[in-house]
Each structure stands twice: as structure tokens, then as C-alpha cells.
């Protein structure tokens, strides 16, 4: 590769108060190259991408495009220089349609006025590129996280950018959509675009990346070219050791705990779902983006008002639409959207961790700060959250670490039924292994776990049983013995019914 690189970073650094998120770093991305960034949660990956995309300003260092030094005043300036960003946290203004969202900030104009038709046509084109299952005029409000991720990806594509900056673009996508995304990235690379890419899914990295930079604590600890890259090597560089082999375990043999009968959700009112769960059983909900996994989890927990059907635990019916009642009955729920439904911005990590258990941690009325601190420290250790960061505001944690907080907050209570929606979304490989081990321990201790996951490996590794959904219908149930990737995909895509 000759000539100045498409993107060139020299000594770029950034800190937040006392935390040095990114130490001075050099990095290049060439046209027609996929450069992957991997590292543990909080390693500084997102910070790096935000600096490149003009969302944050560097404390030091120079960013240049095609050899020309850039000083971005904001995301808009970066976009003008040909950089498109898909951020890690999929936040969109919800008061518009998908087409509006794709056009936002870069509207087709005739003078001051918008040109709606042109915008819609463009939206349809790019939504087709990402194989989105929703129409251009769908209100964004109605889109699931996965669909929003596709939407923002389509937005990034619409820019026709020289450099695409993708922060965990597949974290909320299931296998099929992720595959489609990878094909798309490959075709963009073939057309000469440069791509900067973060993922915690190592197979994706291995398949796509021409070069991989490994960050740890804001520093580059290794760089691999495509030829020299291996999963084991990446993991070793990321976490500084080899991961233990995943455990296996015996199937649970217990009495029935949960009964779900005739469950009907608002988004898929045509189909009803029935299933049972045993004590200590781990059941996965699998399906494509928009297949209704989230809806079922929320309905079982009672997060949404509207539901038809009956959910009973130990034969006692759970009041619909009342998380209060569900939590009292021993339910715990980790929602999919950590920004909107999980994290209390401005509260400390410690307070966030204590939120689901302020009451049980001290008598009925008064809190006990000492007990709360102890509990927080314990569960933080269990979930791999650095004890030094318990006092910082929760929203300043990296995405993966916020995810850990959401999970960890339930560990003080040892729930009867743990409901998890994409539990390891954005969590690094090492921490994921720890969380998996944690879930298995909980199950062994009698907690039942119902989780939805887009990650095939996670489903295959954890589940005793998998409920496969297709467009809101229970397409089939796979016991552990019959479980394999092909069967799962076939059911999820509606290729055949089991």
C-alpha cells in the first residue's frame, strides 16, 4: 500500500478526569482495508473511535485523512471529511420514521425544504443493503434494538463514506443478520472503503480483519496482520492469559417452576406461546432480529402492560404488568436496552448496583450504607467490575462494564427466575466466560434462567433447552441433545417447522 494512509493517527490520546482512557496511540487505516480493534471492556476502543469520528476531541495528537491534518469540531465535520460512525450505544431520536432517521442531519434539500421522496428512496435503498425487515416509514419507536442497529448501519452506509467506523455493529444482531453485515463489509472493502471495526465476537474479527490492534488499558499491546492472527493469540494478548476451557454440566432434573400459558404479545398478537421451565434449568430464546424474543421476556416479567395469557410460578399466577410483583416473587430481569431501561445516569456505580436490593439490604424502611457498600463490592467482584470504579457516575463506564452492572445488581438477591435479554451484549471474551460460569453456578444452585441471545455460541454453550421463535411464533423447541447450529438456523429462518 503506497501513498498516505486513508486515516492516520499520531500520538492521539484522551483522558476523562483522572482516567486516561487512551494513551498516545499511532494507528493507520488504508483504503480497502478492515482494521479491527479488540480489547477488554474499558480498554479504550470506543474512545478511540469517537475521537476518529469527531464525537470527542483528542487531548493530544494528530488525526489526518489522506495526509491532511484534521481538527474536527463535531461529528458533522468528521462526516464532511468522509467518516461515518455507527456508535456503540444505539440511540436515535424516537419521534421519527426510519427514513427520517437515515436522512437526519444530511437531508436532501431543495433550499430550506426537505425533499421527502428522495429521502425515502434513499432509505429504501440502504435498508435493503442491510437486509432490514422493516419498511422505511416504520416509526423508530417501534423498532427493537437489533433493528435500530441495522437502521444506524444503513445510515452510515448512506453517507457513501471513505471510512466507516463501526463500534460493535453486530452486538445486537443474530447470526443471520451478522452474516449479512459481514458480506456487506467485504463488498465495501472491495470497493475501496476503509473500515475501522470493533467487535467482541472473535470469529467475526478473524474473518474480516486485515489487521487487528489489541488495546489494553488504553495502550496498544499487540498488532496482528491477517496471516498471523489466531483466536488464541488474540485472547492471550487481550487478557494477558489463556482462558479456561468452558465447563460442561449435567442436565437439571427438577420439578416444574414456571408455567407460561397462552402468552400473547402486542407486537405479535396473532400467535400465542406456551412453555414450562424447571427449577435450575437454563432455557434460551432464539430467533432472528424482530422475532419476538424481547417481547416474550418482557411479558413474562411483566414489564409491559398489555399481555394476554397466564404466567405462574409454583402454581401462583403473576400479576401482569407489575415488575413490583414479579420481583417480589423472585423474578429478576436484565433488559436489552441498557441506556433506556437499565442504567441510572448520574448515580454512582455503587448506587446502580444497589438499586434492586436497597430494601432487602437493610430493614424495611431505612438503608444501611455500610451493608450496601459491602454488597456492591461483592457483586462487583463477581461480575468483574473494578472495585476502584464504584464511586464514579455509572454513565462514564464503558458499554461492556455498564452491561455488567445491570447483571450484577441482581446477584445480591439470588433470584428464583432470572430473565436475561442479550446478557453479554458488548461484553469482552474473558468477562463473558466468567459470566457464563456465573450463570451455570446460579443454575446449579437452583435459579432458573431464561435468556434471549443473538449469539449462537452462547446459546449452544449454556442452554438446556432452546425455544426458537420465528416471527412471533414458537417455531420449535430443541432439547440439549438435538441442539446444533443448523437446526437452530433452520427453525429461526422458518425454513422448516419442527
Amino acid at each position: 500500500m503506497n501513498g498516505p494512509a486513508l486515516l492516520n493517527l499520531r500520538g492521539v490520546a484522551r483522558s476523562f478526569g483522572a482516567v486516561q482512557a487512551l494513551k498516545p496511540l499511532d494507528l493507520e487505516v488504508h483504503a480497502g482495508e478492515v482494521h479491527a480493534i479488540v480489547g477488554e471492556n474499558g480498554a479504550g476502543k470506543s474512545t478511540l473511535l469517537k475521537l476518529v469520528a469527531g464525537v470527542l476531541r483528542p487531548d493530544a495528537g494528530v488525526i489526518s485523512i489522506h495526509g491532511q491534518t484534521q481538527r474536527f469540531s463535531g461529528p458533522k465535520a468528521a462526516r464532511r471529511a468522509g467518516i461515518a460512525l455507527l456508535p456503540q450505544e444505539v440511540e436515535v431520536p424516537e419521534n421519527m420514521t426510519a427514513a427520517d432517521c437515515i436522512a437526519l442531519g444530511r437531508e436532501k434539500r431543495g433550499g430550506w425544504w426537505r425533499q421527502r421522496r428522495a429521502e425515502v428512496a434513499e432509505a429504501q435503498r440502504v435498508l435493503a443493503l442491510v437486509h432490514a425487515q422493516f419498511a422505511a416509514d416504520t416509526p423508530v419507536e417501534q423498532l427493537s434494538i437489533g433493528a435500530r442497529q441495522q437502521l444506524l448501519l444503513a445510515r452510515a452506509l448512506a453517507e457513501d463514506a471513505k471510512l466507516l467506523v463501526l463500534d460493535e455493529p453486530t452486538s445486537a444482531l443474530s447470526a443471520r443478520e451478522a452474516e449479512q453485515l459481514m458480506l456487506l463489509v467485504e463488498s465495501l472493502r472491495a470497493r475501496g472503503a476503509g473500515i475501522l471495526f470493533i467487535s467482541h465476537r472473535l470469529p467475526e474479527v478473524l474473518r474480516l480483519a486485515d489487521r487487528v490492534t489489541v488495546l489494553r488499558d488504553g495502550e496498544r499491546v499487540a498488532e496482528f496482520a491477517r496471516a498471523t492472527c489466531s483466536a488464541a493469540g488474540l485472547v492471550a494478548a487481550m487478557v494477558g492469559r489463556n482462558l479456561p476451557a468452558p465447563q460442561t454440566r449435567a442436565l437439571a432434573q427438577h420439578d416444574t417452576l414456571l408455567q407460561v400459558r397462552g402468552l400473547r404479545t402486542a407486537a405479535h398478537a396473532a400467535h400465542s406461546v406456551d412453555f414450562d421451565m424447571k427449577r435450575g434449568e437454563i432455557v434460551a430464546l432464539s430467533g432472528l432480529v424482530g422475532s419476538g424474543r424481547t417481547e416474550i421476556l418482557r411479558s413474562v416479567f411483566g414489564a409491559d402492560m398489555s399481555r394476554a395469557g397466564n404466567v405462574a410460578i409454583n402454581g401462583v399466577t403473576i400479576v401482569p404488568g407489575s415488575p413490583l410483583h414479579s420481583t417480589r416473587a423472585g423474578f429478576a430481569f436484565v433488559p436489552e436496552d441498557r441506556r433506556a431501561d437499565g442504567i441510572f445516569d448520574g448515580f454512582s456505580v455503587e448506587n446502580n448496583l444497589g438499586m434492586s436490593s436497597v430494601q432487602s439490604s437493610a430493614g424495611a424502611w431505612w438503608r444501611s450504607p455500610a451493608r450496601e457498600r459491602q454488597n456492591a463490592q461483592r457483586v462487583a467482584a463477581d461480575a468483574g467490575i473494578a472495585a476502584t470504579r464504584l464511586a464514579v457516575a455509572a454513565e462514564t463506564l464503558s458499554g461492556g462494564n455498564q452491561q455488567k452492572v445491570m447483571l450484577a445488581r441482581w446477584l445480591t438477591k439470588s433470584p428464583t427466575l432470572l430473565l436475561l435479554d442479550e446478557p453479554t451484549r458488548g461484553i469482552d471474551v474473558a468477562a463473558r466466560a466468567e459470566i457464563h460460569a456465573l450463570l451455570l453456578r446460579l443454575a446449579a444452585a437452583g435459579t432458573s434462567v431464561l435468556f434471549a441471545s443473538s449469539e449462537m455460541e452462547e446459546v449452544l454453550h449454556l442452554a438446556d433447552r432452546v425455544l426458537v421463535l420465528h416471527e412471533g411464533r414458537l417455531a420449535g423447541t430443541l432439547e440439549r441433545a438435538d441442539l446444533n447450529e443448523e437446526r437452530l438456523l433452520a427453525l429461526a429462518t422458518g425454513a422448516h417447522a419442527a
Partner: protein, 319 residues
């Protein structure tokens, strides 16, 4: 049906109900004279409500609107009669001044990240003091020389009150701005999710500032129209608590104080509801001391009924 339409329909239903009941109880209500009055008042207050709505749509609030209207309304006759300015120059100057003050609000809110409530509350106090000081607390009217100018507020064209025509113009522009212009889309996106909008490359700060500027100008325009209509301005009181009416009309008409929501039509209907209620209590001879209670009660019942009906419909359609 989309929720925006539903909201508009709900508040329109309330309007129809109040109009219907009042007309049934007192036939004078539908007389041309009374309708003309209602339309004129709705038009005057509507200008302010639209301004309030724009700021609310960005997730802010403008409490200074009543004082701003008072300032412009008091300075117009003062410029005309005490300083002999020509009408067009005085109005231009005042509009420009209001725009400047709105700009200041916007800058304080966006650049210094001060709370809109605090900034505009200070505005409320300051502009009131300014109006009183500049005019030395003198009540000023337009005298007889400015009958022509006063037609802007008191005249009518083919029986349509002039301020209504003005309002229709302003409302159409605002509607086009919100529904069709690039900036309008940006403004709504900013109100709903400022962080996301900024990531999308929307100049969120400029949009918020723009809203404050427009609101201040509309407040100024409204204030001048009010003062032309009333022909007598007491600087200490003129426009007092109009911000509450304006914000109430906007919220009643479907703007959420969390930002990112609202329609021009809704806001106009919201304004009309409040005006009609005032008129109705008078026409039905309800004792003044009960008036407030009746107006509050009807609005509360109206929004409650609207909400209950919506739920009923939803639960029907869900089954």
C-alpha cells in the same frame, strides 16, 4: 391512527363539547359578535402559544414570554408617542430587540448549559423591571394618531378579525417549518434526544437557540398586538402570567414538556379551548369567583376523558 392525530382529535373533541354545551345553554354564544371576539382573543393568545410550543418542543421552557410581551407592548406606544418614531421602524426595532434577547436565552442555555427555567425566570423578572423603568410606570395608549396601526389588532377583513389573519399566517409558516423544513426536523429531533441528534450531525445548539429566538419574536409580536388591541398598557402588569396560558395551551395541544412532540394545529386548538372556556363562564353568568374552578375542572375532565377513551379504543383494537 397515529398518536399525533389522536391527540389533536382528543383536544378537538373537548373544544366541540364546550362549544356545544355553551351554545345550547346560551344562544348568544354563536352570535357573530361573540364569535368574532373569541376568534380575536384566540388569535392574540395563539401567537404567544406558538412561541411557547417551539421552545417546549426542544425540551426547554420559556417563562419570560409574558414579560417579553409586556416589554414590547409597553415600548411600542412609548416609541410612537413619546419619541415620535414611525410605526414600521418601532415595530422592526422591537422585534429585533426581542430576537436579540431570545438569542441571549439560547446562548445561556446551550453554551453555558444553564437551566432554561432559571434563565427565563430571570428574564421574566428583568424584562418586567425594564418595562417599568423605561416607561417610568406610566400608562400609555396610542391616542388618536395611530388608529390606522391599531387596525392590525382591532380591524377585520371581510368580517375576519385582522389578528386571526396574522395568526393563520404565522401558524402556516410554523407548520411548514416544523413539517417540511430541514431545520424543523432538526428541532424536533433535538428535543427528543439531543445526544443522538448531535451524533447525527444536527447542530443541536443552534436549533435550541433558534427556538428561543422565534419564541421571543412571537412574544414580542403578540405583545404589540395585545397593546394595539387594548390601547392602554400598564407596564407593571401588562402580559403578566401570559406565559402560563401560553404554556398551558401548548401542553394541552399535545406538546410534551420532555420535548420532541407537538403540532401547530394542536396548539391552536389548545389555545381556543382556553379562550372559549373563559368566554363561556362569562356568558353563562357563572360567578367570577367560580370561573377559575370551572375552567380548571373542565380541562381536567376533558383530558381525563380523552385518556380513558384512548385506552378503551386501544384495548378494543388489541383484542
Amino acid at each position: 391512527m397515529n398518536p399525533e392525530r389522536q391527540r389533536i382529535l382528543g383536544i378537538f373533541g373537548l373544544l366541540v363539547m364546550v362549544v356545544g354545551i355553551t351554545a345550547a345553554l346560551n344562544p348568544d354564544f354563536l352570535g357573530a359578535y361573540n364569535l368574532g371576539n373569541i376568534l380575536r382573543w384566540t388569535a392574540l393568545f395563539g401567537v404567544l402559544s406558538l412561541g411557547a410550543a417551539l421552545v417546549i418542543m426542544t425540551g426547554g421552557i420559556d417563562l419570560s414570554l409574558g414579560s417579553m410581551a409586556g416589554l414590547a407592548g409597553a415600548l411600542l406606544p412609548w416609541l410612537l408617542r413619546v419619541h415620535g418614531w414611525p410605526a414600521w421602524a418601532a415595530m422592526m426595532l422591537l422585534l429585533a430587540g426581542c430576537a436579540l434577547l431570545g438569542l441571549l436565552h439560547g446562548v445561556l442555555v446551550t453554551r453555558l448549559r444553564l437551566a432554561p427555567f432559571v434563565v427565563t425566570l430571570c428574564g421574566l423578572l428583568i424584562y418586567r423591571g425594564a418595562a417599568r423603568t423605561i416607561t417610568s410606570e406610566q400608562v400609555i395608549g396610542y391616542g388618536v394618531e395611530h388608529e390606522q396601526l391599531r387596525l392590525l389588532a382591532t380591524g377585520s377583513v371581510f368580517g375576519i378579525p385582522a389578528p386571526l389573519l396574522l395568526l393563520v399566517g404565522v401558524a402556516l409558516l410554523t407548520h411548514l417549518f416544523l413539517a417540511r423544513s430541514v431545520a424543523g426536523r432538526w428541532l424536533l429531533a433535538t428535543g427528543r434526544n439531543p445526544a443522538a441528534a448531535r451524533l447525527c450531525g444536527v447542530p443541536t445548539n443552534s436549533m435550541i437557540t433558534l427556538a428561543y429566538v422565534l419564541c421571543a419574536m412571537l412574544a414580542g409580536l403578540g405583545g404589540m398586538l395585545f397593546s394595539l388591541d387594548l390601547n392602554s398598557v400598564t407596564p407593571a402588569q401588562f402580559g403578566q402570567s401570559y406565559e402560563l396560558y401560553a404554556i398551558a395551551a401548548a401542553v394541552l395541544g399535545g406538546c410534551s414538556l420532555r420535548g420532541g412532540e407537538g403540532t401547530v394545529l394542536g396548539v391552536l386548538i389548545g389555545t381556543a379551548v382556553i379562550r372559549v372556556l373563559y368566554n363561556a363562564t362569562n356568558l353563562l353568568g357563572i360567578p367570577t369567583q367560580l370561573e377559575f374552578a370551572i375552567i380548571g375542572g373542565v380541562i381536567l375532565l376533558g383530558v381525563t376523558a380523552d385518556e380513558l377513551l384512548r385506552r378503551l379504543r386501544q384495548s378494543r383494537s388489541a383484542l
